[in-house]
């Protein structure tokens, strides 16, 4: 049965039950879905009763491609998963391979990875804050956030030559060392960026319209958050203090001092506030990394043709959107036998049907925005 017929049948069944309720399509081209996602929403007047997400519009069988490429060749494809945090996708994949093959990383590369990863987290949260403001009609915030994000993109362009799909990390370290004077540029950026955060607060946090719009909406209980395996700011917004950087440290995150912000009630406001505070913490980590970064090589001596020993690994990192996991099954050849990406937004989105019912259709935009989905990662 085709999608259209199925939909018509559902509509028929539902209209027979009650004249009050109706099924409405939100998407696949709705601006607030930030990509192509179709939400089939059952409405009772203005109130959402049920929500069925349909995705896969951008499915490109990332995992099948991975099975047919050598380990090194997969890195550029990981950029295209979460294109707002490509550095983190590179890192997650390279870390999984390094753990699987037992490759140690030079000290300088570890520091640069943390530094770049946290800058990427700031950039990703900035684009989230900006587009979330756009969803709620706060256009100025969008312009301001993109202004600072642009500066981080310039920094990344200086190291990798690319603005979005960096492919900068390698199995065993980084592709290149950073150019001369780049660390000074990062310092200058932080000098500019730190006073901007209170400015965003004036437009969002302290704004009574913003507060009334998102407080008490889209509540996700801690029990549901764990059952649906939510991660990242969605999990922490529900009051669970869980961050892989602290609880299961990878790289050298155990050397840095930072806090894990958590929410209290699990509503949209808490998820917003967790992300907003995480930017402060990322600034702290970048500052510490800048003072401690040692000289040295950035790439461990690794073979050109990499072979992984027989076995499997589930390796996870804390990407800006949550737990980004790679499950790799190796059969001893130069390409993975099975390569699965546990995309954080795919899993977080599966909790959306639990969050939406009972709230107004206008709030659906805010709730969906607060999950921070990237459809390329959901669809893979």
């Amino acid at each position: 049965m085709t999608t259209v017929n199925l939909h018509l049948q559902q509509v028929k069944e539902q209209t027979a039950e009650s004249m009050e309720e109706m099924w409405v399509n939100m998407g696949p081209q709705h601006p607030s879905t930030h990509g192509v996602l179709r939400l089939l929403i059952k409405l009772d007047g203005e109130v959402v009763r049920e929500c069925i997400p349909y995705m896969g519009y951008m499915h490109r069988c990332h995992e099948k491609i991975g099975e047919n490429r050598a380990y090194v060749q997969i890195i550029p494809y990981t950029d295209r998963l979460d294109y707002l945090a490509s550095m983190y996708n590179n890192w997650a994949y390279c870390l999984a391979c390094e753990r699987l093959m037992g490759i140690p990383i030079p000290e300088r590369a570890e520091y640069l990875r943390v530094l770049i990863g946290e800058l990427q987290r700031i950039a990703s949260h900035l684009i989230w804050l900006g587009t979330f403001g756009l969803d709620l009609g706060n256009f100025t915030l969008f312009m301001w956030c993109f202004r600072e994000r642009e500066m981080i993109l310039d920094l990344f362009e200086a190291v990798s030559g690319q603005r979005l799909n960096y492919s900068f990390m390698r199995i065993g370290g980084l592709a290149l060392d950073v150019p001369e004077g780049w660390l000074g540029d990062v310092k200058a950026f932080l000098q500019w960026f730190k006073p901007r955060l209170p400015e965003y607060d004036r437009l969002s946090t302290d704004n009574i319209i913003w507060q009334k719009r998102i407080q008490g909406v889209g509540i996700l209980t801690p029990e549901d958050a764990v059952s649906y395996a939510c991660s990242g700011p969605v999990l922490r917004g529900s009051g669970i203090r869980w961050d892989l950087r602290k609880n299961d440290p990878y790289g050298i995150y155990d050397r840095f001092e930072f806090d894990i912000p958590v929410g209290t009630s699990g509503d949209v406001w808490d998820r917003f506030w967790v992300r907003r505070q995480e930017m402060d913490q990322s600034v702290r980590i970048v500052e510490q990394a800048l003072t401690e970064i040692p000289p040295g090589p950035v790439l461990a001596p690794v073979a050109k043709k990499l072979r992984a020993p027989v076995g499997d690994i589930y390796s996870r990192v804390e990407s800006p959107r949550g737990e980004l996991g790679d499950y790799i099954v190796a059969d001893g050849s130069e390409k993975p036998y099975r390569y699965k990406v546990r995309a954080p937004t795919f899993v977080n989105l599966s909790a959306l049907p639990v969050m939406l019912p009972g709230y107004l259709v206008a709030d659906a935009v805010a709730v969906l925005g607060s999950v921070d989905i990237v459809l390329c990662e959901v669809d893979r």
């Binding site: 049965m1 085709t2 999608t3 199925l6 995705m55 896969g56 499915h59 069988c61 995992e63 099948k64 099975e67 047919n68 490429r69 050598a70 753990r99 549901d224 764990v226 059952s227 649906y228 395996a229 669970i240 869980w242 609880n247 299961d248 076995g311 499997d312 690994i313 589930y314 996870r316 737990e323 996991g325 499950y327 099954v329 390409k335 036998y337 099975r338 699965k340 546990r342 795919f346 899993v347 599966s350 909790a351 639990v354 669809d379 893979r380």
Partner: protein, 168 residues
């Protein structure tokens, strides 16, 4: 709970169901017979207290004529981690769904059904999730062929062998 303790407890309870078990990189990994997968998952969740299902992925072991479902399970309260693999025959890949234990398994199992054709009993809504509903075949199976595949550069397989599956 350390990986050894986890393995010990599962062995004590489900000794006859376990095919292989070992500790690798501090993680408990074990392969089980598929017919007890739900009971073992419930034991892990409720009695060992590993309440967080990180990931569920299917693997096609075409050489051994078997399908595998790998559960990566951990906890938000303790450091224990486990990778549990359940094997089913390839021509009849049916397992019990773990959706009653973890809500997140719903979409993961739909994905395994969609891409690998593994069926899950008692799943509330088992239908394709990423591919169109009228798609034929399951692309992540190792014997799935499509003329649009770009062959691996130094692969032995001859490119251009097109075998379009005709049944779902």
């Amino acid at each position: 709970m350390t990986a050894e303790e986890i393995l010990q407890q599962i062995r004590a309870r489900f000794g006859s169901e376990i095919r292989t078990s070992e500790v690798r990189r501090g993680e408990a990994t074990l392969t089980i017979k598929a017919d007890q997968n739900f009971e073992i998952c419930r034991f892990i969740k409720e009695e060992l207290g590993l309440e967080y299902l990180n990931c569920l992925s299917g693997v096609d072991w075409v050489g051994e004529n078997e399908m595998e479902v790998a559960y990566a399970i951990s906890s938000l309260r303790q450091p224990g981690k486990i990778i549990l693999r359940a094997r089913v025959p390839r021509d009849e890949p049916v397992l019990r769904s773990v959706v009653p234990l973890w809500g997140t398994a719903n979409w993961h199992e739909r994905e395994a059904f969609d891409l690998l054709g593994i069926r899950f009993e008692n799943h509330p809504d088992l239908r394709r999730i990423l591919l169109p509903e009228d798609w034929i075949g399951h692309p992540l199976r190792k014997d799935y062929q499509d003329e649009r595949f770009v062959p691996y550069p130094w692969d032995d397989r001859k490119p251009g062998t097109v075998v379009r599956p005709t049944t779902a």
